[in-house]
Symmetry: C2
Subunit: 345 residues, 2 copies
């Protein structure tokens, strides 16, 4: 099966996307893969599969490879001898900005290129954690309570310590702090404001149980992964997260009841249906006193959460065969024509 | 002042956008304007200002003009003699799909082109009426109660007649019906489902007072238009709406109290701030028993609601000088470099 991995992007998760793409290359060994890299200047390059290692990009060697430009129907590669149109289905593996904020989805939709990944509205509701809360409230999915602080405005926090402070719109753990003592709160806010003008503050729930569940839609039915209880420190720092994006070994199933698994699946489905079609997403849940709370939606999870699926190649094959229809509206000139003919022109 | 009007788009409001662009051309007579047309196939054309009439497009004459392609920093025009990069600030005047759904915003942001118009998140929350409700609920702005019906699912309506039935994601009045008698409800639903898989049903409030207010942000402060009480039939059909997009005569102020005007402004500001910066939007409000309800957000109002402002050229000048900063994240290779050096590569 042919598939093009699109990775990179001008974001704080640029490196993570490279790591993710290298991992996916290993996991889809039987596929006929090609690779398109989006660099920090929003230029696209066709990357030789043999050169898919992280130093290719950190050393700038990708700039010697073929540059591509977006056009109707695909990415075009121009050379002295003519041009080639690359029309493969794209797997959007650009984590964070560009990939998860709706930009890449809009570009691919606009240029009529098929892709696996969240559509633009789905990006809006998952990239900014405030909007994930709006969505949860509208759908009746419980999530952790929160307050929003804005840059250059006084923060009148009602929550009591400990709290977790997060930039509204970043993935990974960049700019995130746990604050146990009020005296450290302002510093945590300033750190988060380096990345976003809006910051979420949530209660930090000590010893909370966390469960991750991934899934995607096939023919109106959601195919779920196993549920994993992530083995994590109190809190993932960027370096640990970085390693997390290169995970490729099958995870083990969380030792939880069928009832809890079904609760997680039911919450996942409420969030997914009508919003995330076309994407494989991972939802991270908290369980507090038996109650399921949605913590985060990862619309392009690190290395596509391959480690949660038994047959990852089959997963990507199914996604590839179930891409949402995005037919363009046919333009008509009915009114202009009727007005012109009335005017006798 | 230089400015490029971007209009057209592959949407049901394609014709309306052409009418709007022609009106804006008249209203910005002292500007140095240029025109870029996006056709139904998502091709861009540079339109000769003298040819800015509706039949140019309905007759397909635009296809003989210069085609442009998007590139970093602007639209590029290639000819036998070389290429010209068009870098003017863009006024996004593509109504409906493409323009108001976030596609054009994403494209212009991605390619680092300055523009007047709603940013992609703002589009998500205004293009789909369901998401406008989510936003209103989150911000404490009252709106009309609603129910959502989905295609191929049984509709269990709790609202009683009369109701208004609308496709979730279209502007204008396309696919909208007022249903007074239950026996006509299914037909109205089917009509709306021709345009969207999700449909909003709201109570139709007989004799409701409607008020329109436009505004935009300059240096952290909102500049408001006058408030208009639109002179309308029970309901605008597409043809009347079409005429509405060519409005250019100054509207008259609604005869309402200062107190009500301030209530409208306060609701407008709650919706605008932190979401619609960079855009001139028009909010349409209902007033029911003295209570202000947000009916609709028009993130690219017909002919930019020029008729609500006394000095429209000054409005566009101010918007042009207050374009939100969209600086790209600088990519770093800190982690890859540190890992590579640890490996001694």
């Amino acid at each position: 099966m042919k598939l093009t991995i699109l990775f990179g992007g001008a974001s704080f998760e640029h490196e993570i996307s490279i790591v993710s793409a290298i991992t996916i290359k290993e996991k889809l060994a039987s596929f006929d893969l090609s690779f398109i890299f989006c660099d920090g200047d929003h230029r696209f390059y066709l990357i030789d599969a043999k050169k898919m290692k992280s130093t290719t990009f950190s050393n700038g060697k990708h700039k010697k490879m073929s540059e591509l430009t977006l056009t109707n129907g695909g990415f075009i590669q121009k050379s002295f001898f003519g041009s080639t149109l690359h029309t493969n289905t794209i797997l959007n593996l650009i984590h964070g900005g560009d990939g998860e904020d709706g930009s890449i989805a809009s570009l691919l939709d606009f240029f009529d290129i098929k892709y696996i990944g969240p559509r633009k509205e789905a990006c809006t509701f998952s990239y900014d954690k405030r909007y994930t809360k709006y969505l949860c409230n509208a759908l009746g999915v419980k999530s952790v309570e929160y307050e929003v602080c804005h840059k250059n405005e006084a923060a009148n926090l009602r929550l009591s310590m400990p709290v977790i402070v997060k930039p509204a719109s970043l993935g990974s753990s960049i700019g995130v702090s746990i604050v146990k003592d009020e005296s450290n709160f302002d510093y945590a806010l300033d750190t988060a404001f380096e990345y976003d003008d809006a910051v979420l503050v949530e209660p930090f729930i000590v010893g909370v149980k966390e469960y991750n569940l991934a899934g995607y839609m096939v023919g109106g039915k959601i195919h779920f992964s196993i549920v994993e209880e992530p083995q994590k420190e109190e809190f993932l720092d960027f370096e640990k997260k970085y390693m997390d994006f290169s995970r490729s070994e099958q995870a083990s199933r969380a030792d939880i009841s069928e009832e809890l698994i079904n609760k997680l699946k039911s919450n996942f489905e409420k969030v997914y249906r009508g919003m995330f079609e076309g994407a494989l997403i991972r939802c991270d849940f908290f369980v507090v006193h038996g109650e399921v709370l949605l913590n985060e939606i990862n619309p392009i999870p690190g290395s596509m959460a391959n480690y949660l699926f038994e047959d990852f190649e089959q997963v990507i094959r199914e996604l590839s065969n179930n891409i949402p229809d995005a037919s363009r509206v046919k333009v008509s000139y009915e009114y202009i024509d009727s007005i012109s003919s009335a005017k006798g022109k």
